[in-house]
C-alpha cells in the first residue's frame, strides 16, 4: 500500500498545491497523493471546487472590464504577493 499515514498531505500543503494541480503541473505521484487527500477531506474538495469555479469565471474577464485604477491596484497586490 502506498497510502501510509506518514506520507499523507496536510490540508495546508493541499492549499499550496491547488494551483499546480489545476494547471496539471504536478508529477503523477504527487497528483495521485493530492487526490488521495481529496477522497478523505470534504473541506479540501470544496476548496478545490471553489477554485475551479473561480478560475473559470475570472478567465472570462477581459482587460477592458477593469478600470485602470483597479487594474493597477491588482497588479501592485500581485507584485507584493510574489515578493512576499
Amino acid at each position: 500500500m502506498n497510502d501510509l499515514p506518514i506520507t499523507e498531505l496536510t490540508c495546508r500543503e493541499m492549499v499550496e498545491l491547488v494551483s499546480d494541480y489545476l494547471e496539471g503541473a504536478l508529477a503523477d505521484h504527487d497528483r495521485a497523493r493530492f487526490e488521495q487527500h481529496l477522497v478523505l477531506c470534504e473541506g479540501c474538495t470544496a476548496y478545490l471546487d471553489q477554485m475551479r469555479r473561480t478560475v473559470a469565471l475570472v478567465g472570462r474577464l477581459r482587460d477592458h472590464v477593469l478600470d485602470p485604477p483597479s487594474r493597477d491596484r491588482l497588479l501592485e497586490t500581485f507584485r507584493t504577493w510574489a515578493g512576499g
Partner: protein, 167 residues
C-alpha cells in the same frame, strides 16, 4: 485491462469535475484502481472500467491513457458500505482494547464510532491509521489488505471478463 473506479453519484470523477460517459465513449487520462488499492479510493459509486493504452501506477492509482465504463457494481450500496464501516469500527475498537491507555487509539476509535455508510472511506482510513499506531507500517499494510480482500469478496470483483484481465 479491466479495473475499477469509484465516482461521485452520476459517474462524476471525484477530482477532475469530469463525468465518465455512460454511453461507452472513452475518457482520456482515466483514473482507476486495482483491486489491491480499492479501499483508498472509496466513494459513493463503484464502476467496472476498461482501460486502454499506457497505464501508469502512481501512488496507489491507475492512470490510463483512456478508459470507459463497462458497468456499475450495484453490490456497492448503502448496506455494503455499512457492513464495511462496521468491520472497520470493530477492528479499531479491538486495537484500543489491547492498549486502552493509548490516547491516539482512543481518538481514532471515537472518530470511527461516529462513522456511517457515507463515511466508509474515512472509516477505512481510521482503521488503517489505528493499525499503524498499533503495529507500524506492517500493521497498516495488513489492515488495508484486509479491507481490499473484504471488498473484492463481498462485491465479487474478481469474476472473469471477456474483454481483459481484471487487475
Amino acid at each position: 485491462m479491466i479495473a475499477h473506479t469509484f465516482t461521485r453519484p452520476g459517474a462524476l470523477c471525484p477530482f477532475t469535475a469530469r463525468t465518465w460517459p455512460e454511453n461507452g465513449d472513452w475518457l482520456d487520462a482515466a483514473r482507476a484502481t486495482s483491486l489491491e488499492h480499492l479501499p483508498v479510493w472509496i466513494a459513493p459509486e463503484l464502476w467496472r472500467v476498461e482501460l486502454e493504452g499506457h497505464v501508469a501506477t502512481p501512488a496507489a492509482q491507475l492512470l490510463a491513457e483512456r478508459g470507459r465504463l463497462v458497468e456499475q457494481v450495484d453490490a456497492w450500496d448503502r448496506r455494503t458500505a455499512e457492513a464495511f464501516v462496521a468491520g472497520c469500527i470493530g477492528r479499531t475498537i479491538e486495537r484500543l482494547e489491547l492498549r486502552p491507555d493509548d490516547t491516539t487509539l482512543a481518538l481514532l476509535a471515537a472518530d470511527a464510532r461516529s462513522c456511517g455508510a457515507p463515511d466508509a472511506n474515512v472509516c477505512g482510513w481510521l482503521a488503517a491509521r489505528a493499525a499503524f499506531v498499533s503495529s507500524g507500517a506492517d500493521g497498516h499494510r495488513r489492515e488495508r489488505e484486509h479491507q481490499a480482500r473484504w471488498l473484492v469478496e463481498r462485491l465479487q470483483l474478481r469474476r472473469r471478463s471477456d474483454i481483459g484481465e481484471v487487475v
